[in-house]
Symmetry: D2
Subunit: 406 residues, 4 copies
C-alpha cells in the first residue's frame, strides 16, 4: 500500500520499507548520541563514527543511494527523497547511513565521471565508509564563490602531470578526508566561462596543506570547513578526473542532484524541529491553556505543517525531473531556493514555539536553527538561484514567442 511518505513513486513498497528501517535506526540508535554531543557532529570521535556505520550496515540502511554493486540499494532520486529525509532527522543520521555531504555527491560524481581505476581506488572505499572525501571548489575573495567562473586556483602542465597552486576556502570535510576533488583552472582567466579541470588529490600530498579550520555557525558537517593551500602540488595524468577543461560541466553533474539531496536531509531535520516544538507546545501551560491550543501558536504550527508538506512536494517533483532528465537543473534550482527558505522558516517558528527553552542549549533546537541558516548561502545563495531562474523564464518566454510567431 502506498504510504503518505511515498505517494505515486515507482517501487513505493520497497522504498517505504527502507525508509521505515532508516527511521527506526535514526531514532533508536543515532538520536541518543546526537543528544549527548548536542548536535556537534564536526567533532564526533572517529571510532564512534565507525561504530555507527557498522550499526547502519547491520540494520541494512547504509548508503542506499549507491548501486547494489557497491553495497547500496540503488535508489533513484525519487526514492532518495523519501529515505534521506529519514536519515536527516538528525545531523548525525546521514553520516551514520552513508548519505552525508560531501561524500554522497562525490560518490555520484566518481560513479559518473571517474575511470575504472579511479573508481576502484576511491569509490570502493568511499562506498564502504572506509575513507572520506572532500570537494575543493570555493575560494576566498576574489576567487570562486557564488560565481564559480571567478576560479583562480591554477593547474599548469609539468612533466608527467600537473602542478596546482592556489587557495581554497570553506572546504567541507577536508579535515580527515583521504582525497580531495580539486577544481583548478587549466586555461583561460578568472571570469571565463570554461577552462576548469577536476583533479583527484591525495590529502597527504606534500603540496597540499590544511591551513586552518574556519569557525562557522554550523557544526553539522563532519570534519568542519577548512582553508587549504595548494603550493606546487604535483599530481599525475591519472589523477585528472574526466577530461581536461571540462570541470565546470562535471560540477553541474554533481551540483544539481547534490543540492536536491541537501534539501531532502534538511527536510528531515526541519521535521525534527517541528516535533520538538510540538512536544514543548503540548506540555507547556500558559494563560490557562495548553500552549498548543492558543490561536497564535496554532498559526505557527499550521504554517510549519504547510511548509513541510510543500517542501516535500517540491522535492518529489524535482526528484522526478532529475530521474527523467527533464528540466533537471531548473527544477533543482527552484527546489533549493524553496526548500532552504521553507526549512529555515520551520526552524525559526519552532524556536519561537519553544520560547526561552528554544534559545538554550538544552534542546537541539537552537543548534538546528543555526545549522539551517547556512543552507540559504551554500550550494548557491537564494539570490544567485533566483537570478538564474528568472533568466531561464525570460529565455523560455522569448523562445515561445519566437516559436509562435514563426
Amino acid at each position: 500500500m502506498p504510504t503518505p511518505d511515498a505517494p505515486g513513486i515507482p517501487d513505493a513498497p520497497a522504498v517505504e520499507q527502507l525508509a521505515a528501517a532508516t527511521r527506526r535506526f535514526v531514532r533508536d540508535v543515532v538520536l541518543p548520541i546526537e543528544r549527548r554531543i548536542a548536535g556537534s557532529v564536526h567533532d564526533l570521535d572517529p571510532a564512534e563514527r565507525a561504530e555507527l556505520i557498522a550499526a547502519a550496515k547491520a540494520a541494512g540502511v547504509y548508503a542506499p543511494q549507491l548501486p547494489t554493486a557497491y553495497g547500496g540499494a540503488g535508489l533513484d532520486t525519487r526514492g532518495q527523497a523519501v529515505v534521506f529525509a529519514e536519515a536527516g532527522y538528525t545531523l548525525l543520521g546521514p553520516l551514520a547511513t552513508g548519505c552525508a555531504a560531501p561524500d554522497e555527491g562525490n560518490g555520484l560524481l566518481l560513479e559518473r565521471v571517474a575511470t575504472a581505476a579511479q573508481r576502484e581506488r576511491w569509490l570502493a572505499p568511499l562506498a564502504t565508509g572506509d575513507i572520506r572525501t572532500c570537494f575543493a571548489m570555493t575560494e576566498p575573495a576574489p576567487g570562486a564563490g557564488s560565481d564559480p567562473r571567478a576560479l583562480q586556483t591554477r593547474a599548469t602542465r609539468v612533466a608527467g602531470g600537473w602542478s596546482i597552486d592556489g587557495r581554497k576556502w570553506m572546504i567541507t570535510g577536508a579535515r580527515g578526508a583521504a582525497v580531495a576533488i580539486v577544481m583548478a583552472r587549466t586555461s583561460g582567466e578568472p571570469g571565463d566561462a570554461g577552462g576548469a579541470t577536476m583533479f583527484l588529490v591525495e590529502t597527504d600530498n606534500p603540496g597540499m596543506r590544511i591551513e586552518r579550520d574556519v569557525e562557522t555557525m554550523d557544526a553539522g558537517f563532519y570534519g568542519g570547513h577548512a582553508e587549504i593551500v595548494f603550493d606546487g602540488c604535483l599530481v599525475g595524468e591519472a589523477d585528472v578526473l574526466g577530461e581536461v577543461d571540462r570541470g565546470f560541466e562535471y560540477a553541474q553533474v554533481r551540483l544539481a542532484p547534490a543540492r536536491l539531496t541537501h534539501c531532502m536531509r534538511w527536510l528531515g531535520l526541519s521535521r525534527h524541529c517541528h516535533d520538538l516544538a510540538l512536544a514543548h507546545a503540548t506540555e507547556r501551560q500558559a494563560f490557562g491553556s495548553t500552549l498548543a491550543d492558543l490561536g497564535l501558536a496554532q498559526q505557527l504550527i499550521a504554517d510549519n505543517e504547510i511548509d513541510l508538506a510543500a517542501a516535500r512536494a517540491v522535492i518529489a517533483q524535482a526528484a522526478a525531473s532529475v530521474d527523467d532528465g527533464v528540466d533537471a537543473a531548473n527544477a533543482s534550482s527552484i527546489a533549493k531556493v524553496f526548500v532552504s527558505e521553507a526549512v529555515g522558516r520551520v526552524a525559526d517558528r519552532s524556536v519561537q514555539l519553544a520560547g526561552a527553552r528554544g534559545l538554550t542549549g538544552e534542546t537541539l533546537l537552537s543548534r538546528y536553527w543555526r545549522e539551517m541558516r547556512a543552507f540559504r548561502v551554500y550550494d548557491g545563495p537564494s539570490e544567485t538561484h533566483r537570478w538564474a531562474i528568472a533568466k531561464r523564464a525570460v529565455s523560455r518566454h522569448r523562445r515561445a514567442v519566437a516559436g509562435a510567431g514563426a
Copy 2:
C-alpha cells in the same frame, strides 16, 4: 515520454495528450472570447456557452473527469491536476470544457451519493452540459459560513416529503441552474455537529426563489452568486440525496476534492498572469534596459516561477493522497491554503510587473488579480484551514507520544 507537466503519474502519456489538446483548445478557441468579454464570465451569452461546449466536445476535451460511461475520460485526481490547469488558463476554459465549479464538484457528489434514478435525472444532463447545477450551503450571518455547523435552514417532515425554510447566500451559479443541492438541518440546533441533510431541489420549485444577485469583486463564475430564499419549499422523499442526517459527511466527500480542483484551475490562471507579465516585461524598456533584465523585476519573475512550481507540486501530492485515500482531507486542506496564497502572490506580482498597464482594464491581469482574491475566502478561509491543520497536527503528535509510551 514523461513531460515536465506530468512527472511520475500513472498513464502519463494519455494524460499529457489530453492536456496538450486542452491547451490548444483554450488558447485557440477560448482565449479570443475571453479577451472580448474581458474575463466577465458571469454574463456570457448562453448560446455562446453552448457553442463553446460543442467545440470542446468536438476537440475531445469535454468533461475529462467524468467516467467514460458519461462521456468523460475518467481521469483520476492526478490526471485532473494536469488537465484542469490547462483548462484554467482562462476563466472561460473550465466552463467550456465542463470542469467548472460548482458543476464539477456536484457531478462528483451525484456520482458518489445519488441513486440511479437521481443520476439519470440530473447527472446525465449535467454530464452533457445540457443543464447546470448549484450547491446551496452557505447562509448569511449568523448562519453557516466558515463554520458549516451554524446551519440554520431547516427541512421539516411533511406528508410525502419535506418542507424547506431558510435563506442561502453566495450560491454560485444559482442563476440559470436547473437544480440546487440544498443543505438543510433535519435535526439538532445551529452549532450542532450533525443533523444536516442534502436535498435536490428543482429551481422552478415555487417554494424557492432567487432574491438577488450579490455583487462581488469576482466575475469568473457563470451565473454569479445569488441570495436564495426557501419558503415552504416542498420536496419529495425521492429528492433526498443520500441519507437523512448525513449531509455534513457528504459535504466532505465533495469538499476535499472540490477545493483541490479549484487549486488546479487557479494554478492555470496564475500561469496566465505570469505569461502576461512576462510579455510586458520583455517588451517594456526602462532605465536603458528591458524591464525583464532589471534585478528587481527578476526577483518578481523568479518568485513567480518558484510559487508556480511549488503550487503544482503541492497539488500533485494532494491529488495522490486523494486518489490513494491516504490523509486526503488534510492534504487537500494544506493544498488549499498553500495554493490559494501562492496564486494570489503570483497574480499580485504580475500586476506589479505590468505597472500602470496592469491596473487598467486593457489587459486581463487586473480582472484575474481580483478573481483570485476571493479564493482565499471561499471553500474555507485560510484561517479556518490553518486552525484545522494545527489541531490535526497536535492530535497526531499526542497519539504518537501515547503510542510510544504504551
Copy 3:
C-alpha cells in the same frame, strides 16, 4: 494636551483641533455620501462636489495645507500628516476638504514655482475649489513611466511661444480640469537626464484633446485617468512654468511631498478598512465564539494595528525630514514604499477578516482594497524606489568609507 495622533509635533493643539474637526466632518457629512455612491468618486456629480466643498469651508476644514493668504491653515508637513489621514478616512474626504491629488500637489508646485501672474490665474481659483487641475507627465510605452527620462512629448519653439506634440496617459483628473501642467521635452532625446520643461496648458486649448478615459481598477480619483493627445498645441511664453529645461527638477519639488501626502490619505483609508473589519469581527459568531476572539483572527487584527502604527510613525518621520529639509527625497521614498505596502496589507487582512462579506459590493471594503493596490504602482513603483534607496545607501557608505580613510 498632546494626543496620540500628534505626539511631539510643533503646535500640536491647533493641529489636533483641526484634525478633530476634519474627523467629524468626514464621518458626519462625507461618509453617508461615500456609502451611497459605493466609493465611486470618479463619477460624483459636480454639483454635489461643490456642495461638499461649501460644507467643508463652513466647517473650517477646507484646504488646510494652503497658506492662510489663500484661505488655508498653513499646515506644515507634520501637521498635514495628522489632518490628511482624517480626510483620507474616506475616498471622498480629500476631495471635499481640498487636499486630494492631484490638486493638492499642483497647488504646492504653483506656490513654489509659478509667477505671480500664474498664481493669480490658476492657484487662486484652485485654492477655492473653483477649478481643478491635472499633472500630465506619464506617457504610454515607450515613453515616460517609472523612468521619467524616457519623456517623448516635445515642445518646440514657435513664434511667440511653443508648440507641444505628444501623448500622455493615465493623467489623473484631466477630465473636467481647467488647466494641465504638461511636462514636455525642450532639449535632448528620450533617455536624457535633463531637457524637460513644464507648461501650463488650458484644457480648452484646441491643440489638446482627451482621447479616452482609461478604465482602471480604482475609482477614487475625481475625473478618473485620461489619455490625452497634444497635436500642435500652441502655448505662449507666459505659460512656461518656471524656467525652460528645469522641468525634472521641479517635478522633484512636487513629487517628494506629493507621494508623502498620498501616504497620509491612504493611511486614513486603511484605518477605515480596519474599522470595518473590526465591526464585522466583533459581530460575527463562528465556532462557538465571536470571530474577534479567535486566535487566527487576532493575528490579523494585531498585524493591522502594528502596520497602522508603523505607517503613521514612518510618515511622521518623513514629514519632519521634509519640513526640516534633511534627507527629504530619501525619507519620502522610503515612506512611499513602506506605507503603500503596509496599507495594502491592512486592506487585504481586512477583506480576509470580513470573509464573504468583504468580497461583495455590500461593504466599502472591496472597493478600498482595489483602490489601494494601485498605490504600489503609481508615484514610482516599489521596485523603482527600492532601487533608488539601495543606490543612495551604497553611495552614502562609499562616501563614509572615503571620508574615514582620508
Copy 4:
C-alpha cells in the same frame, strides 16, 4: 540644526551632541575590544569592564538616562531613543556607557519605586557602575514565563520579614550582580492576576544560590543567564520594594520602557549589521560587477534601509507616547513586536549579503544575527504581544461603538 537622527524632538541639539559623542566613543574605544572578544560580552574581564566605564565617564557619555543628580544627562525617552541606538551599535557599548539591560531598567524601577534608603543603598552604586543588579522574575515550566501570572516562587511572612522559596530561570546578569530584584507570590495561587511582591535580595544571602549558567545562543549580556534557587531565603521588611502585593503593577512600570530601550539598542546593532553587509557588498566582485550593484543584492540593501527607518520611526513614536503618558503600554508593545522582527530581518539579510563570510566567526555578523534572534522571545514573545494588541483593539472598538450608540 536638527539632524536626521533627531527630527522634531525637544532639545534636539543637546541630544544630538550626546549622540555624536556616544557614536565616537563606541567606534573608537569600544569597537576594537568588541572585535577582539568576537562579541562575547558575557565573559568580558571585570577589570576591562571597569576601564571601559571609566573611559565612558571621561568622555561624558555614561548613564545618560539617569537624572543629573545621579550623574546622568537626564534624557527623556525621546532622547534615549537617539543616544541608546548609538551605544547599541556594538554589544559592549551599552555595558560601557551604563545603559545595558538589566541595570538600565532596574535603575528606572528603583528610581520610581524604591525608598530613599533603598535608593541610597542600591541605586547610587548602580548609577556609578560600581555594582550590577538583576531582575529575577521568570521561572522554569510550569512557572512564570510569557504568562507572568503563573508565578510560583513564594514569599511567606516570618518574624521580622519574609522567607522566599522557589526557582528562577534565565535571570540575566545574575552572575556577578550585587542585588536581585525578586518577584515572589505573597498571596493567591499560580494563575491569579495579583498577589506578587518585589524583594531586594543581596546575592550573598545564604538562602539564594546560582545553580548554573544556562547555555544560550546569545552572548551579549554581561553575566549571562542563570538559574537560581531560593531556599528559605530570609529578607527583612526593609527589603520589600514598594508595597506588598503590587509587584505585577511595578513590573509594568519597568517593562514598558525596558522593552522600548531594548528596541533602541538593537536598532543600533542592526545598523552595524547593515554597515558590515554594505562593506562586504561594496568590496566583493561577482558576475563581472560589484555585489552591491546587482539587482537582487540591491533588494536586500533597500529592504534593510526601509526596516531601519521604520524601526527608528516606530521607536520615536513610542518614546513620545511613554514621555507623554499616552497609550504607553500599547505603543511600547507594538514597538517591541515591530522592532524585534525588523531588526531580525535586517540581521538575516546582512548575513545573506555577506555570503559565506557571514556564516563564519570572522566577522561579527553571525554573532549579532544569533543575538537578535532571542529578542523575539524575551520581554514577551511576539505572539503574546500580538494577542494583547488585538484584545486592546477589540476593546477600544467596542467602547467606541458603545459610545457612539449612547
